[in-house]
Structures are given as structure tokens and as C-alpha cells.
């Protein structure tokens, strides 16, 4: 039986470089010069050219508006007297300092402070660009901001996509709050007088050097049930530091609390290299003496303890549903 009656229907034309396929779609490469200009713009703290064109064309109505919001979110937006303006984005790739062999630097308390700073700086870069786009679209706020934070080796990537909005009857201010919550969650909070103000981050990475006794517990293949008490304790401390940073981050955004916190933890075995000792001297860690080698270096077994927490920083503006006055006041309040 002839299943597909396309024996005489030719295969679709072969697609090669330069073939115009979709009608109306723009298929041309971005020239190296334009790429260079975009990189310069990013380094100056500005936005690539194409982004500005899209914002301009979308806000004048030359091109259709875009929104990450789902239909039910749009309906709720109508109820909140919110007008979606367009899609806004922000991204940053960030390299964290290492030594010549790609190893992490630790500070005096063996925290990976460079990496920790890297997380905050890449978040700030991406959010800064998001806000810049929102300001370009004359937005009051960004809602439904979806964050992606990923790290591969020593490169951190932060990307965010959201919908820029205006409130009807609200005076634009110096502040542009960013809500990492869905449209529906945003609506629910607005009904009880809370407003999301930002994407709060709490991150800490601590490296704990251990003695042979402790390492043996985790490496031996026999023996009894036993807790690595020291590691548990130090991990609790790491968590304490990360959550303190989360609270501090949220407070700096003017928040009264953090909602919808998500947590990710990671523990793995590693080594720390101590340098600058005298050959033949001992370094005493966790009841073990480690001998400095001839080059003044000693490698000590350790555990990486990583704690990552994010959430929506939220602020209480009124006891009832949010009013345009309360929102205007919040957007224009001095920091």
C-alpha cells in the first residue's frame, strides 16, 4: 500500500547557507564588527545593539509585545491593573580566579571567597542588565523572572528572562523591583499587601581539611555505622553562613522576608594544598601531622562543603491588597 502519496512530490529544497527559508524571518549573520561592538557595550555596562532595537520597536508597537506570562497570569494581571510591556533578559558568564593549574584560591578560613564573590557578581551583572532593559521599556517592575544559575568548573552562568510591566496609576520611581515568582504567586502576594522586590541569593563554599582518622571513616570499606561528626558540624556552619548571606542580601533589597526558598547542597572529597611552610616541618590538622615537602608544600585531604539557597525577597507594603499609592511610594522611597 502506498502510505505516503508523495512519490512524485519532490523532497523539500535542500537547505544551504544563504537560502531564504522562512518568509519574513531575518537570516543574516552578525558581523565580527557588530559582535565586537556588542562586547564593548557589555563591558561598558550597556546593552547590545540588537536588544535596544527590540526594546524600541516593541515599546512603540512596531513589533508585537512578547510575554513570558501564561494566559491565566495575563488574566490575573488584568485584575491587578498591570500592563505587560515586553520580554526582558539579562545574562552574564563569569570566570573565577584560579592558579596556573586551575586550582581554587582559598582565604585564611579556607572559604572559597573568590567563587562566592563570583556568584554574587554574576547575579548582579545579569540582574543589572535585566533592569537596564526594563528601564529602556519604561517599566515599573519585572515579574515572572525565571533564573538559571549554573556553574561548570570555574565559569558561572547566570541568565534571567522575565516580563516587564507597568501598573496603571502608579508613578515610576528609581527602583525597579524584580519578582522571581510566577504571575499567580505575584497576584496572591499582592492581595495580602506584599510585593516581591528581588532574587535573593545565599551562597557559601567552605573547604574543610581533615586528619587521617576522619578521612578513614569515609574511605574504609568495612567497619561500623559512624557519623563524621566534625564534617556534620562544619556543614551546619556553612549552612548558617549561607542563610545569613541570604537574609543580608534580601535585607539590602529592602525586604522583610524571603519566600519560596530553594536549597541545593553539595559535599565532595578534595585536597587542599598548603604552601610556604619549611621543609621538614609539620602541619597539624585534626590530630594528624602532615609533613611539608622540600618545596614547602603539603597536600591535605579535605571536604568541599557547598550550600546554595535562593528565594524571592518580599516586602510588606500594606495590610490589605496593594494600592497604586502604596506601590508608587515603595518605588520612589529612598533606599
Amino acid at each position: 500500500m502506498n502510505w505516503f502519496r508523495r512519490s512524485n512530490a519532490p523532497n523539500p529544497p535542500r537547505v544551504s547557507e544563504g537560502t531564504k527559508v522562512p518568509e519574513g524571518a531575518v537570516y543574516h549573520e552578525i558581523s565580527p564588527e557588530d559582535q565586537e561592538a556588542d562586547r564593548d557595550a557589555l563591558e561598558r555596562g550597556e546593552l547590545p545593539n540588537r536588544v535596544q532595537q527590540r526594546l524600541a520597536a516593541t515599546s512603540t508597537g512596531d513589533r508585537p509585545w512578547l510575554s513570558t506570562l501564561e494566559i491565566h497570569d495575563l488574566f490575573l494581571a488584568e485584575g491587578l491593573q498591570i500592563v505587560p510591556l515586553g520580554h526582558v533578559t539579562g545574562s552574564a558568564y563569569y570566570h573565577v580566579a584560579t592558579d596556573a593549574r586551575g586550582r581554587e584560591f582559598l582565604d585564611g578560613d579556607s572559604n572559597a571567597s573568590n567563587l562566592i564573590r563570583g556568584y554574587y557578581q554574576s547575579r548582579d551583572l545579569a540582574v543589572g542588565r535585566l533592569i537596564q532593559e526594563a528601564r529602556g521599556a519604561q517599566a515599573h517592575a519585572v515579574i515572572d523572572a525565571q533564573f538559571k544559575v549554573a556553574r561548570q568548573e570555574r565559569v558561572i552562568e547566570v541568565s534571567v528572562v522575565g516580563t516587564a510591566i507597568q501598573w496603571q496609576g502608579v508613578r515610576a520611581g528609581a527602583k525597579i523591583p524584580v519578582s522571581p515568582l510566577s504571575g499567580e504567586e505575584f497576584f496572591k502576594l499582592a492581595q495580602v499587601g506584599w510585593m516581591p522586590v528581588g532574587f535573593a541569593l545565599g551562597y557559601h563554599w567552605h573547604v574543610m581539611p581533615v586528619g587521617y582518622r576522619t578521612r578513614q571513616i569515609s574511605t574504609s570499606s568495612y567497619g561500623q555505622n559512624q557519623e563524621l561528626t566534625g564534617v556534620s558540624q562544619r556543614f551546619s556552619l556553612t549552612r548558617e553562613v549561607a542563610t545569613r548571606m541570604l537574609r543580608r542580601d534580601a535585607a539590602a533589597m529592602g525586604a522583610h522576608g524571603v519566600a519560596g526558598v530553594r536549597i541545593d547542597t553539595h559535599i565532595e572529597e578534595t585536597e587542599i594544598m598548603y604552601t610556604g611552610g619549611f621543609p621538614g616541618q609539620y602541619l597539624r590538622i585534626d590530630n594528624t601531622n602532615y609533613l611539608y615537602e622540600e618545596n614547602g608544600v603539603v597536600e591535605v585531604p579535605a571536604f568541599n562543603l557547598e550550600f546554595y539557597a535562593t528565594g524571592a525577597a518580599i516586602r510588606k507594603l500594606s495590610s490589605g491588597p496593594l494600592s497604586p499609592d502604596a506601590i508608587s511610594h515603595a518605588l520612589n522611597a529612598s533606599p
Binding site: 502510505w3 502519496r5 519574513g24 531575518v26 540588537r50 512578547l66 510575554s67 501564561e70 494566559i71 570566570h95
Partner: protein
């Protein structure tokens, strides 16, 4: 069958299934019961499950190891293959004399048996207005949308109607850094603007293409935009940005009443 010449792309078996005038015609759909009821409430009736697929050989393009560049051959392949699957699905809907298709799912699967082969599938449920009004697009095609039955109902209530599922694709090669550059950056905390710029370019191109498509179909806006980032099988330095959403136009006043705050107690 007399419709042969009108639907050259639809297989014989499919045409038999899509014959609405047949005595034994029963509609099929992948709508859930809730969706079915809401589609009915919105004034539409489901006609049938429609689909289209395209097995596509994705061409080869050499990339410069040190350069940020769009892989135009791959971009066009990804777009063209999805478009083929969509068009075939639309033809099936056309055969059903449908007004449009709701709940469209676009999927890409990579075949185990061919390195450069990919299968593009579009599946949805064709619907028709019960009062006989036409909701077809400017070009006389059935409308398409990835909205669920619930979303479709709500969209119609808010006074908007879907025009077309719009999409844009961009496959981009992200430059590898030279050794000298890598050495310079080693000891520093610094942004890698070359990667950031690549990401921006790829995303903007995909979004721009989607937006152009929406403008082409005379839409006022695009809702539920999803931006997907995928490496498919091209390795870590080649990424595809795929932007997809439903283009909408206003067609009447909103008829929804103000929402009530209801909080579930089990979540």
C-alpha cells in the same frame, strides 16, 4: 477520494480518518476531560487529533574554533523541519475543515540509527467554532496554538484569540578562548564577555525571528513565550536557542469577572 489534489501532503489513511462527512466519523482528541469541557464552553468542538512529522537530515557546517558565529545551515534546518511538521499538521486540520488547532506540542527526537537525523513531530487537537464563525488566520489557514484547553478557554474569555504558534530558532557556535587569553584571565575574577555576547546574540536572533513571524501574521502580542536552550548533539560549544509562543489578537471585550483569591490547603 476527491480531496486528493487539495491535500497532496496528507497520506491516504489519514484522509480516511479525517473525512468529517463519513457516516462513521467520530472525533478523536488528546484533550483531557477538563480540557474538553472547557473547549466546548468556549464555543468550540474538537474534530480530531492532527499531527505532522518530518524526518530531517541536518546538514553539516564547519565552524571556526575561535569565532562566535551563527551556524546558519543548522538554524535553517531546525526551523525548516519544524515548519514542515507544522504545515503537515495544518493540512490535516484543513482536511477536517477546522478553525484551528489547540494544544500543539512540538518535539524533536534524535534517531539512534542516524547521527545527523532528527525527527520533528507536531501534534494537536483540531477544533471548530460551533456557531459557524470562522476563526482562521489572515492567510485562510487554521490557527495554531500551544495553549491547553484551560488556557484556550480563558484566552477567549479575555477577548483575545490565538492566531498562530510562532517560533524562532538560532544555532550558534560559541568561540573557544585562545590560550593567551585564558592565561591572562586565570588569576582574575572577571566576566567572560565573549560568552555573554554569544548568548545575547543567539537569544536575540531567536526572539527577533519569533517576533517577526508574529508581526507577519498581524498579531498584537505573543503570550507564554518559552526560551529553550539545547545542545542537541553538537557538543558543548554549539547551542540552539528556540523561542516559541502563541501570537494573539484582541477580537472582543473581555467577559471575565474579577478573580477571587483561593488558596489550596494541600500545597
Amino acid at each position: 477520494m476527491s480531496e486528493d489534489s487539495r491535500f497532496p501532503d496528507v497520506p491516504q489513511d489519514a484522509l480516511a480518518r479525517l473525512d468529517v462527512t463519513s457516516e462513521s466519523f467520530v472525533f478523536t482528541s488528546d484533550l483531557s476531560v477538563n480540557e474538553f469541557v472547557l473547549v466546548e464552553q468556549a464555543g468550540f468542538e474538537p474534530l480530531g487529533l492532527v499531527m505532522g512529522s518530518s524526518i530531517y537530515h541536518i546538514g553539516y557546517q564547519a565552524s571556526n574554533w575561535r569565532k562566535n558565529q551563527e551556524m546558519t545551515v543548522l538554524s535553517q534546518a531546525m526551523y525548516n523541519a519544524r515548519e514542515l511538521a507544522m504545515t503537515r499538521m495544518e493540512e490535516e486540520a484543513d482536511a477536517l475543515k477546522a478553525d484551528g488547532i489547540v494544544g500543539v506540542r512540538l518535539e524533536v527526537k534524535h534517531a539512534e540509527w542516524g547521527e545527523h537525523l532528527a525527527e520533528f513531530v507536531a501534534v494537536g487537537t483540531a477544533v471548530r467554532a460551533k456557531d459557524g464563525t470562522s476563526h482562521r488566520t489572515e492567510k485562510g489557514k487554521p490557527f495554531t496554538s500551544d495553549l491547553s484547553g484551560q488556557d484556550f478557554w480563558m484566552l477567549i474569555q479575555t477577548g483575545y484569540r490565538p492566531v498562530s504558534l510562532v517560533m524562532g530558532s538560532c544555532v550558534y557556535h560559541v568561540a573557544h578562548q585562545g590560550v593567551a587569553q585564558t592565561l591572562r584571565q586565570m588569576g582574575q575574577n572577571t566576566e567572560l564577555t565573549i560568552f555573554t555576547q554569544a548568548l545575547y546574540d543567539a537569544r536575540e536572533l531567536a526572539m527577533e525571528r519569533m517576533q517577526t513571524e508574529a508581526a507577519d501574521s498581524k498579531a498584537k502580542g505573543v503570550v507564554g513565550v518559552h526560551l529553550e536552550e539545547n545542545s542537541h548533539r553538537w557538543g558543548s560549544h554549539v547551542i540552539e536557542f528556540f523561542a516559541v509562543g502563541t501570537a494573539v489578537v484582541p477580537f472582543r471585550q473581555s467577559s471575565l469577572s474579577a478573580p477571587q483569591l483561593t488558596l489550596p490547603l494541600n500545597d
